[in-house]
Symmetry: C2
Subunit: 428 residues, 2 copies
């Protein structure tokens, strides 16, 4: 993975705000740093605890009050207007195994800097904002250690019971509750009253880079369908069992992985993203035919009808796989969402703010899930993207140019200031 030595655009000269941001981002990137230039700080691990303590200190030293709710979401509140609701801005600090240093972390730090700058902006203004401002670091957005992903924002928005979340165990048997208590970031804060929500994130795609555009304004999500699949065969000896007697769950799972890829290969006009990336194989011994394999199937498209047709084709492919591998396959949809819009008024607000700052922008869809996808259902929400070099994501080589992260933070500052004035009050 090589990054361009020089930016394709003119040399970037950071100003004072930019230098402050970049220094803090470098400091944050040290937590869980990996030799390949990425980070590994899965939810509620020691590295996650350390970065949360660092953010806690950053916020309190600038006048924010830090609180934790009952699923470990970390809030930093700056109250200008006692009793008024808050404009909330954030993302997540947790990462994938060998993840990149921008995914989530950029959005949390940009929110902290933007909120701090917005507070200063209003302090220098003759009027008071209608709303206060708060920063949030959502717990366990990634879902690699504890499933499902977007756990903290799902609990906050009432989509997942807190008891279910706290009782979820990682593969070693440690529950969310135990892990959060170990790093000391769980509390009884009920969360701020949210007037509006904003989030900024790297694009995790090639679109903005390809179009040489500084900002993506997210107008909707792709649709997604996620399935839990269990393939059941029977244990037997890999050497002595005759082929006709084998009921090989790993063969069945492998045929399914190939069938899932073929769905994408058959869709040439409209994008369809399909994947299987996790399997649990039992007993996973070199001389025992697998009795059972658990795997996840992930299908995504901007076209819901196409997605439904793909899901139907997948179901239709199962009997043939069951017969060929002499297994039984059980498929359950665990999660899914349609093509869901973000409020138009928020996209327009962000476009006007970008125009004011002279930042090029275009409307985009988000393929990946984000905490904003939960938040948009409970508060007027604005989701912003900055470019990702080569679209590299969930990889140590993930990269965004300094110019772009700084421009995004400037834009988020302007958006928060406008939201604090009540700009989206009548949008939903």
């Amino acid at each position: 993975m090589n990054h361009p030595i020089s930016s394709p655009t003119p040399v970037f000269t950071p100003n004072g705000n930019d230098r402050d941001f970049l220094a803090d981002f470098a400091a944050l990137s040290d937590f869980g740093a990996t030799p390949g230039g990425g980070v590994e700080r899965q939810a509620a691990t020691a590295a996650d605890g350390e970065q949360r303590a660092w953010l806690h200190e950053w916020l309190t030293s600038r006048g924010f009050e830090v609180h934790y709710d009952n699923v470990g979401n970390q809030f930093g509140l700056f109250t200008i207007n006692p009793g008024a609701p808050y404009v909330l801005s954030g993302s997540h600090l947790d990462s994938q195994p060998l993840g990149g240093r921008y995914d989530g972390a950029y959005g949390v730090l940009a929110s902290a800097h933007a909120a701090h700058r917005a507070v200063r902006h209003w302090a220098g203004s003759e009027s008071r904002p209608r709303y206060n401002v708060a920063v949030v670091n959502w717990f366990n957005e990634e879902g690699s250690r504890f499933k499902p992903s977007m756990m903290g924002s799902s609990v906050f928005t009432g989509k997942l019971p807190v008891g279910t979340a706290l009782a979820t165990a990682d593969p070693a048997g440690t529950t969310v509750e135990t892990a959060l208590r170990e790093i000391g970031t769980i509390g009884d804060f009920e969360g701020p009253d949210v007037a509006a929500y904003a989030e900024i994130h790297i694009e995790q795609g090639r679109g903005l880079e390809h179009d040489n555009t500084a900002i993506g304004l997210v107008e909707s999500t792709w649709a997604a369908r996620k399935y839990q699949v269990v393939v059941r065969g029977e244990q037997s000896h890999t050497g002595s069992t005759i082929m006709a007697d084998r009921r090989d769950a790993l063969l069945g799972a492998s045929l399914l992985v190939v069938a899932v890829r073929e769905l994408a290969e058959q869709s040439t006009d409209v994008p369809l993203h399909t994947s299987v990336s996790e399997m649990t194989i039992l007993p996973n011994s070199p001389v025992v035919v697998a009795r059972e394999v658990h795997l996840h199937v992930d299908l995504r498209s901007p076209d819901e009808a196409l997605l439904d047709a793909a899901a139907k084709k997948l179901v239709e492919s199962i009997p043939g796989i069951e017969e060929r591998a002499s297994v039984s396959i059980e498929q359950v949809q665990t999660h899914g969402w349609g093509v869901a819009p973000f409020p138009t008024a928020g996209v327009e607000l962000a476009a006007e703010a970008a125009d004011k700052l002279g930042l090029s922008h275009q409307n985009v869809m988000t393929v990946a899930g984000h905490d904003s996808v939960n938040m948009k259902d409970v508060a007027p929400s604005v989701m912003l993207f900055v470019p990702s070099v080569e679209g590299i994501s969930h990889n140590e080589g993930e990269f965004t140019h300094d110019r772009d992260v700084c421009a995004g933070t400037d834009l988020l500052t302007e958006v928060l200031s406008r939201l604090m004035s009540g700009a989206l009050d009548h949008s939903t």
Copy 2:
């Protein structure tokens, strides 16, 4: 998995020796017993330690001296003729995860009973045997917790350096040496001087049952080729990464699993057994395209030329898989053996012993590896099989009728008595 309620052959009435054996076998089957009727006692686990202590007590209470060598092989020596070499008989007590209770354990217990009976036979005789007798429980034949399989007999026969074996770690990072010290069964015994070796095992195939034959006399092994394969791709986001950018190691691995199965499907005249049953997937997260998958390929056939042709086809299939999944694949043969004969004189000796006892017998090949496959290279060796119901193996439902296990133990007693007299002295 259902066992026949009644044996297809006439009712079996156990004699005193049989009842002793069956009671001991029931006791032994309690160690690591699983709800499905099998056992789980992988090498050097607590359950393995407990059964070793039980065997230790069984042997010492009958006049055997128990010693452990530097890789945890457990020897029980009965010395009639001080200074003379030993006829060694044994197998292994360790099991696969959710394994059957006969695999290995039957051979160890049959050896203990047969050696004890042979000692009594010679005590009642006017002559003294040329050789003493010893029982062995080889360490880690299964290879599920620590690789490779047949570890103890490989070290004993000089095929694997003891340092390599002791430094081998399980997936949790525990080494063989640490695990053996925890269960207290490692020592400095150098092993007996071996005059001849015998082993009895369940067939793990359907041949004897199909032919209604009591005993299989192993005349040779199938050939085998084992490969370690690494599929290398690149981590990326399962949602947002466009399909053309993906380098999906799990797709590459799945295509390989299917290609391995197709080798067997294409071989219709001569048997070819092919399998992949273990994979390590990195990072194995539901939203990260796998960067790397490690897997084992196992190819076996009674025809070496066919096996070589299959191995060549497998190599030829790799470039197409690399291209389709945008991965690189590295394949290394880690282990293999040809069609290797057991000494003809040993097969003849066992056939005469079976005839004397009125047991039907036929010559067979072994598909599975056994410790005898190592031992036959250093001492005249005899390998015996008893039938397996439906050929079920490495499965809790593994089963052999009482009649057959008792007949096998009777035969092993006769074989050990003959070997102790020096019957194979000039056979190799």
